[in-house]
Symmetry: C2
Subunit: 216 residues, 2 copies
DNA sequence: CGAGGGATTGATACGTCTCAAAGCATGTGG
DNA sequence: CCACATGCTTTGAGACGTATCAATCCCTCG
């Protein structure tokens, strides 16, 4: 993509963690096509993934066919830290992605190494923080607040232009809304000049403070 | 409370964990009155709590005064494992409660003890599982599903009669609903004979399978 | 140029919230 | 023992927000 102005995916890679280091040293590189599955919901947990390029989403499907997106994972993020022996969420690449894949067992071979234990704990804490924030958003905010907060989180600290890696459907399933409500809310925010969409996946936040006032 | 039939609070104490052991050995007993605060949202994290009797709820308040209940903690549950230096949720005793309180530092004094590190990780994983389940419930279920699932989770494996430790307002703030919607939904389930409420805090589930059919 | 998939917009139905009143327990003082 | 006050719960009527179903638009790609 070539743009005449600075563009930003809104996410800078996380500060390198020890666990990320171990995975990238112990693991093997892997490439996934758009929409390719890293692992399925209810699969056995065996691997740890470090995102190096692209974006990955985690999803959970219900029996009735409803879908909840658990989160979006950017370069530097780690997938595969689970609470049980099975994956509670499946994972798919949003677009072509490069990851580093390590067997859990080979990381566990380091067990007893206090540093590494600590790194796994820290990474798990990050997951917990992510889940708690998500829970608060779903429980406390209306559509306007959800969409606004989502834009802010996708914008991060960069600027002035940001790219959305995911479709409206992904956004909707992450926010617990329908695609129509997401679209309408975005249009409404655009009418109020709180956001500009040069195209469906590209946006600017000309009044970030006004967004933060109701979506923070 | 004396009842002529078996009654159950629906929660059996969790299988003793190593971390719970350490807290109960290292810590000091503490008693809290109903509605007394264990710690406040945004307080510095310093202590670990093991519930021994009674029930504790964690809550987060927004600037606009809305409240989200993060969870309910029963005997055997541990509070105070946080993702950052500050408490993201406050904690209050629902009714008179006995806890065991240990300084984080004195638990950390065991650091390097691989077993203990592992125990902290496991406890953090439990929190993660709790938060993820909560997130899924908020994102995927309607009022009927939320209330039904809540009753099932409060009932646990015991039976046939269960006690609710929390008010309708606590339930509502946990489920992301209003107190009126919770009350109406409970009345509706009662009309369908999916639940019986001899009193507001006591209930029976005569057709648990029928509940599970839509609330699982 | 036409086909296809994602996104937007419109009309309407439905679910949940809001505001208000009534019901029901529990405890207190007369 | 009754009368009342208090707090929690339930019920009702109407407003509001989001979902649903359907049509149109837009962009990309062949």
């Amino acid at each position: 993509m070539s743009l005449a102005f600075a563009m930003d995916d809104g996410r800078t890679a996380r500060p390198a963690s020890l666990l990320a280091d171990v995975i990238s040293r112990q693991g093997a590189p892997a490439r996934f096509a758009a929409n390719e599955e890293l692992y399925a919901q209810d699969d056995q947990v065996e691997l740890l993934f470090l995102v190096q390029r692209g974006v990955v989403r985690t999803t959970r499907l219900t029996l009735e066919g409803r879908r909840q997106v658990g989160g979006f994972y950017y370069p530097g993020d780690i997938l595969g830290l689970e609470t049980g022996p099975l994956h509670r969420f499946g994972a798919e690449a949003l677009s072509e992605a490069e990851l580093c894949v390590a067997r859990r067992a080979s990381v566990r071979a380091f067990a007893g190494d206090t540093e590494l234990d600590r790194a796994v704990l820290d990474a798990t804490r990050l997951e917990l923080e992510r889940a708690q924030s998500h829970m608060l958003m779903l429980g406390l905010k209306n559509a306007r607040g959800k969409v606004g907060a989502f834009l802010l989180s996708m914008a991060g600290a960069g600027g002035p232009m940001f790219e959305l890696a995911m479709s409206r459907q992904d956004m909707a399933d992450y926010l617990g809304l329908t695609i129509e409500t997401v679209s309408r809310t975005l249009s409404q925010l655009q009418n109020e000049a709180l956001v500009e969409f040069p195209s469906a996946r590209l946006f600017r936040l000309p009044r970030r403070d006004a967004l933060e006032a109701f979506a923070a």
